[in-house]
Symmetry: C2
Subunit: 380 residues, 2 copies
C-alpha cells in the first residue's frame, strides 16, 4: 500500500473539499463526472466537454467491450487518445449494466455469462477479465467487479449478493495492475441494510483500495432511503480516501450526498435530460419543449455562462427542439453539464468557507416551483 | 441603381476571384455557403461553423415560414441574432421547396398556395409575401421568388415557367426594401434550353439585380448537361455582379462551375453526406461506416486541419457511426464543411496566381478511385 492519492483540503460538517491526484491530472472534489458511455459524451466534442469545466469523465466497460471491443480501443491508443480526452477517465466494471440484462445473463460464483443486447452474442465477465478490459481501455480509475444488488431485495438476498461482490472485490484487487497515478476503487454493497453495508465496508477495508464507491443506490429506493443509507455507512469509510456515490443523481441528490461526506458522482441525468429538452437552471428545471418558451427572448439561465445561455434566447432553443434539430440536444447537454459543474464548484468553495449548508439552502430556495409547473420530473 | 457591391479581384480564363461587400461583412469568392435549413447548420454550433471558415450561410424561407414563423424570427431579433451568426446570410425564396410539394400546391399567376408538409396547414406565397418574409428573417441576400422549372420539361413548358418567374422577378424587385449592404438576386430559369436562358437573363438584366443566380439546375439533368447550360449562359451575365449556382454540388461540380465563371454555391451535400458517414477528402470520398476503417489508426485526411482529422483516428470515427453516436455526424459535418471551404479558398488563390486549371487538375488527380471502392456515390 502506498500513501493515499487523496487529500482533504477542508471540511464543513461531514462535507469535504479535497484533491484526488491521478496520472492524468488532479481532480478537485466534490466533483461530478459526465457520462461518456460509448467513449463519447453524447452530443459533445471533447473540446466542448472541457469547456464545461469537467475534470473527469466516465465510460462504460459493458458498452465498450461489445463495441468497439477493448482490444480495439487499446489498438487505437486507449480511451484518452481515442476520445482526445487527456484528462482522467473512470470506467465502471460492467456489473451494473449486466445485472440489468434480465434473462440474458447467468451468474455463477466465478463470474457472469451474458448475451449482448446488440446481437445476442455470448460474453463472459469475471473479476480478472473486467480488470483486464479496464486496463486495455486505459482507465485512470478502475472499478472492482460487483453484483449490483437489485431493489427490492430481502436481507438474505442482499447478504448473498454482497458476499459475492466482496469475493469478487478481492479477486479484482489481486488482478489490478498497479501503475503510478492509476487507481482502483472497491464498491460497498449491502442494499438498504445498515449491517450489511457495515460488513461490506469492513471487507473492502481489509482488502484495501485507493477509493471506495457506494453502489446499489438510486435503483428505486427513493432519496430518503438513499440518504438514510448514506447516514449509516459513509462515516465508516476511511477519511483519507475518495468516496464515490455511483449513478447519482439530481442536483438535490448531490447537495444532500456531499453534506453526508461523498466526494464523487456520475449520472446520465444532465446529459439525458438535455437531449430531451430539459434544462437545470438556477431557478429550477425548465422544459424547453413547452410552448411558453416559443416567443421568449430571454436567456435560458441568466446566471449561467454557457453558450446556450449567453448566445441564444429561450425561443431559439424551443425552436430547435420543436424541429428536432441536433443543435438543441447539443446546447442543452452543454448547459446541463455546465450547471452541474458550477453547482459542484460553488459547493466546494462554500465548504472551504464553512458555508456549505447555507450554500445548499440558497440553491434550493432559488428553485422556485418550476419543476411542477414544467411537468419536468427527472426520474432517470 | 447604386454601384455594384461586387468587385472582381482576378480572372483566370472565365474563373473569377472577387469580393462581395455586405452589411454583415465581406465575402471572398468563389465561395461555398453551408446550408442551415431551419436556422441551424445541422450538428454544428455557430462557433463550429465559424471555425470551418464559412463566410456566409444559407437558410430556407419555406422551412422558417412554417417553423418558427417569420414573425417569430423577427421577434427574436432576426436570423443573425437568433442563430448567433453575425455574418452574411442568404435566404432562398421558398420557391424550390414549394415546387417539390407535388399534389400539395396550386400555382396561379399571382402566387402559389400550398399545404405544409408538417401539419397540412394552408399557406400562400406571392413575390411580395416572399420578400416580406425574407425581410423579417433579416436576410443579407434576398432571393426573388421563382418557379423552379422541373426536369424534364418540354421547351414550351420551360418557356411558360420561365416567363412566370420573370414576372415574379419584377414584382420581387419592386417589393424589395433597399438597405445599405443588403442585396437581392434574380434567378435565371429556362431549363436546358439556351434560348430560354438567354431570354431569362435579358429579362432580369432589364429589371436589374445586385446579383444573379442560375436556377433550375442540379435537378436530374446530369453534370454534362449542367455544364453545357453554364457554357451557354454564364457569359451573358454582367461581369460586375456575383453569379450564384443554386443547389450545386459535388467538389467536382464546383471546380467545373468556377471554371465557367460562377462565384457562389450552396448545397446540402457536404452536411448530409457527413451525417451519413461519408467524408470528402484529398484522396476522394470515404465511407466511415465501412469495416475497413474499424482498426485504422490513421487520420481521416492527413491534408486537413479540422478536429475530426487532427484529434481522432478513422477507427474512432467508424466506432461513432457504428454506435450511432451524435459525435460522428458532428465531426464529419465539420470536416466536410472544412473540406469545401479549403477547396474554394485554394481555388481562389490559384485563380489569383493564374493557375486555376492546374489546381483543379491536381485536386481531381488526387481523388484516387476511392469513390468506387467505398461505394459512396453522392447523388443528393
Amino acid at each position: 500500500m502506498t500513501g493515499s492519492p487523496f487529500s482533504v483540503t477542508a471540511m464543513d460538517g461531514a462535507a469535504r473539499a479535497g484533491v484526488l491526484q491521478t496520472a492524468h491530472g488532479d481532480i478537485a472534489t466534490p466533483v461530478f463526472m459526465p457520462v461518456g458511455t460509448a467513449a463519447t459524451v453524447k452530443g459533445m466534442t471533447a473540446d466542448s466537454v472541457r469547456a464545461t469545466g469537467a475534470q473527469i469523465i466516465l465510460a462504460n466497460t459493458y458498452h465498450l467491450m461489445l463495441r468497439p471491443g477493448a482490444d480495439r480501443v487499446a489498438a487505437l491508443g486507449g480511451l484518452h487518445r481515442m476520445m482526445d480526452w487527456p484528462g482522467p477517465i473512470l470506467t465502471d466494471s460492467g456489473g451494473f449494466q449486466i445485472m440489468s440484462l434480465a434473462g440474458l445473463r447467468k451468474l455463477d460464483a466465478d463470474g457472469v455469462t451474458f448475451r449482448s443486447h446488440l446481437d445476442g452474442s455470448a460474453h463472459r465477465l469475471t473479476p480478472e477479465r473486467a480488470m483486464h478490459i479496464q486496463y486495455l481501455l486505459d482507465a485512470t480509475i478502475t472499478m472492482a467487479l460487483d453484483e449490483c444488488t437489485p431493489f427490492p431485495a430481502t436481507e438474505r438476498e442482499a447478504e448473498a449478493s454482497m458476499l459475492l461482490s466482496m469475493r469478487w472485490a478481492a479477486r479484482s484487487r489481486e488482478a489490478f495492475v498497479a501503475r503510478d497515478g492509476y487507481h482502483q476503487f472497491g464498491i460497498v454493497q449491502g442494499g438498504v441494510y445498515p449491517d450489511l453495508r457495515r460488513r461490506s465496508t469492513e471487507a473492502l477495508l481489509g482488502i484495501g483500495f485507493d477509493g471506495y464507491a457506494i453502489g446499489g443506490l438510486a435503483v428505486g429506493e427513493g432519496q430518503a432511503v438513499m440518504f438514510s443509507v448514506l447516514d449509516a455507512s459513509v462515516g465508516l469509510l476511511p477519511a483519507d480516501r475518495p468516496r464515490y456515490l455511483m449513478g447519482v443523481g439530481t442536483p438535490d441528490d448531490l447537495l444532500g450526498a456531499v453534506a453526508r461526506g461523498v466526494d464523487m458522482f456520475d449520472c446520465v441525468i444532465p446529459t439525458r435530460a438535455g437531449r430531451t429538452g430539459r434544462a437545470f437552471t438556477s431557478q429550477g428545471v425548465l422544459n424547453l419543449r413547452n410552448a411558453s418558451h416559443a416567443t421568449d427572448d430571454g436567456a435560458l439561465d441568466p446566471a449561467c455562462d454557457c453558450p446556450a445561455c449567453t448566445r441564444h434566447a429561450r425561443g431559439y432553443l424551443h425552436h430547435l427542439f420543436r424541429t428536432r434539430e441536433m443543435l438543441g440536444p447539443m446546447l442543452l447537454t452543454w448547459h446541463n453539464l455546465r450547471y452541474y459543474r458550477n453547482l459542484m464548484a460553488g459547493l466546494r468553495q462554500a465548504i472551504m468557507l464553512g458555508r456549505a449548508a447555507a450554500y445548499s439552502a440558497a440553491v434550493r430556495a432559488a428553485w422556485i416551483s418550476k419543476d411542477a409547473a414544467e411537468g419536468a420530473s427527472i426520474d432517470e
